[in-house]
Subunit: 311 residues, 3 copies
């Protein structure tokens, strides 16, 4: 069983294998399991792109997607997440994708027997987002090592800053950070180097902007949106000082004219929509990994099934 | 790319072609695209029949329908409609159906590269409803010209009154209007002739009742429901004075005993459920038109794709 | 047309036929209708397991499931349940599953022409839950007659206590009841025998616990949860006094440490997750029965169709 909960559970070899397979999917490779396969997407927080991206990936793999609406589920009757997932397992679902506002919600799901794909846990992790960022960079430059990636913005509340920084460093890239200092975390800063916004933008091969999580904290420090944009955002003026081949990433949804000038969202350097395209291929790769393992493990599984389902 | 946003963008030839194909679908014709095709239904307002009708049409055409729930989408995080649709385009959706409370919401979507099917915009347009009305009339009488169609009720807030009147006139029918005068619009009235409710019902071949939009305006003028029914509704008594072969249309949901006596909803003259049946065939026709064009344009599309997705 | 609304509409022969076919499905039997078949699940109350179970069953039978979200349907515009179901019928849906808070909601749907599967009506009935309970008992003991089944807990608000008691009695089992006396119903008590909780647990072959419906009545009599557990619940201590081969059933979601000690939910005697598995097979059996009949009746149906859809 191959769940995917956090980036740090993956070895660099595993990361590269997932990226490789996703790249093949992007070039038209197809794969489908032999038997009818059910999955469910349990999104307890709003999402368009992650949820739709998983849905498209799942259907490209020929899966049957069982609708799960958190707002009309038995969670309203007080059922625990564990019992809800266990229910889906019992009715025949082979894997679940979960987004949940609680950090490390998956710690209470350790005895679940089907793979869990983490679609985002609070301010914690979002591994498929990290992987699609890596794929987009690798497709652009043909490599991940010896690149300078500047991660800019709301580091503290970001689900991807930490795991991206860690994975990029492991894969040989140089990582630096920029943004309002009160959004910084000791543990993050020691992984890279803090740069002023202008240094970051002029030196980086990859300008990775983070989304300001209005839904997680009401105030952008003490700055107005306009002040934030001028002080820490990618303005039209700053974009002109980027290196010739450097690119812009943003996990979206974009706060236009806050993190980035609205006109730059679709500029030549922007890979924001490319990231969304790649999200589908990454999720196909991650889901195939989960389900294929599952099927290969099925003989053993069936032997123990009756006992396990009862336990 | 063949979006369908308003009736007036369609020539009479195009209208007749859509009706013809829908009629063929009603007789058992099938069509499916060669490749796996994803669509999304983005309904920002309540709907049962339009949404379910599109869903059935899409699956009859073999499409994969990606669930989109406005209430749990990133629109809640403040994402614009443009960015949301652009996201769906990026993850591989080939067409979107949109219902939105904002009139002409589609004006901000002009640079989207996938077809948009308007499932209703505020008090503006609802072209597939207009088309299914036309199909139902044409199936009944074998023609649209030289028929007298009386459109009765809440003209001002109706998404179909205007476009139906225009299309019917272009196709050779005579259109008249009836209902409370304060719900009338200068622009409408000059297209046809105002008749008293009794004149309208006695003269029309098609009595097209409109729904009172309780959700759009709380008061039915200054009348109670019962007073409205007696003054402007299709009562049991009025139905008896209709011409022998004339029929009743209503877009539903019906306010029973307001626009129409409850007993008449399923009477011999009523084509209300026939309209719902025809809705599926019209939507199949409109979606085929959108997707087929899309595929035929695909070579050109692929050439420009990388550039366009970035722009 | 074979709706399934209540257990008492089924003869014992019909019950046994449904169980037999479900058991075959559990052993790998497959069946799919010849033509593309649309169904809709109309859940007006929260549900995870029943809804997901129907979804999986429907897809195993190759049905196309049309999404229906009560919260964004025209019911919000005041449309009646009858008109909503009639709409689904008109757009081509072949069967509907309905869960509704109103007891006997189906009485107003008598003139609907497609089968209705009751997924729970208020405190009334929940026939597929009853059938899956019966299947789980039959699989365990190879028979239903001459077994002692103790039904324990919130009898008054239970959708299954009444119909299970009745069906078990008809099938030759002995039924007894236990729990707080103020939750008992004269009509129930006369069907069986009231036992103290300790008698019930020591004598029964099947300990069938009911869920305390927190969402239906706020107070558990005058007891705290802990007091309820000690007085009427299946404690760790009581489980030890159960007969050697006796089993535990619970419709779930479980209130852990109220009806049953948390540690017992997955114990060797528990068939709680087995019940969920069986739910899928029972629903396949019930849906096949509904749709197969439907297709066999289709010739007659088509002849009368135009007339009927208008009526």
């Amino acid at each position: 069983m191959k769940s995917l909960l956090t980036m740090d559970q993956l070895s660099t070899e595993e990361i590269l294998a997932i990226l490789h397979e996703a790249d093949e999917f992007s070039k038209g490779k197809t794969w489908q399991p032999e038997n009818q396969t059910f999955v469910a997407n349990m999104f307890f927080e709003p999402s368009t792109r992650t949820k739709c991206s998983f849905e498209v990936a799942e259907r490209k793999l020929g899966f049957q997607v069982i609708p799960f609406d958190a707002g009309s589920s038995s969670v309203l009757k007080g059922e625990s997440l564990y019992d809800t997932v266990k229910t889906l397992e019992a009715v025949g679902v082979s894997a679940v994708v979960i987004r949940h506002e609680k950090e490390r919600y998956f710690d209470e799901l350790k005895t679940i027997h089907i793979p869990i794909i983490n679609g985002g846990d609070g301010c914690g992790h979002h591994p498929t987002q990290s992987l699609l960022d890596l794929l987009t960079i690798k497709q652009e430059f043909g490599r991940l090592d010896q690149l300078h990636v500047a991660i800019i913005g709301d580091i503290r509340h970001s689900r991807v800053a930490r795991s991206n920084a860690d994975a990029l460093t492991r894969l040989g890239a140089k990582v630096s950070f920029s943004g309002p200092v009160d959004w910084f975390d000791e543990s993050i800063i020691k992984q890279g180097t803090y740069l002023s916004i202008d240094e970051a933008i002029e030196q980086a091969d990859v300008v990775m902007l983070l989304r300001i999580q209005h839904e997680r904290h009401k105030m952008i420090s003490s700055l107005t949106k306009e002040e934030y944009h001028q002080t820490f955002g990618l303005t039209l003026e700053r974009e002109k000082r980027m290196k010739k081949h450097s690119i812009i990433l943003h996990p979206a949804p974009v706060n236009r004219d806050v993190e980035i000038a609205s006109e730059l969202v679709k500029c030549n350097r922007s890979r924001i929509f490319k990231q969304m395209e790649n999200g589908v291929f990454i999720r196909m790769s991650v889901l195939k990994r989960a389900i294929q393992q599952q099927n290969e493990g099925e003989k053993i599984y069936e032997t123990h099934y009756k006992k396990r389902i009862a336990n």
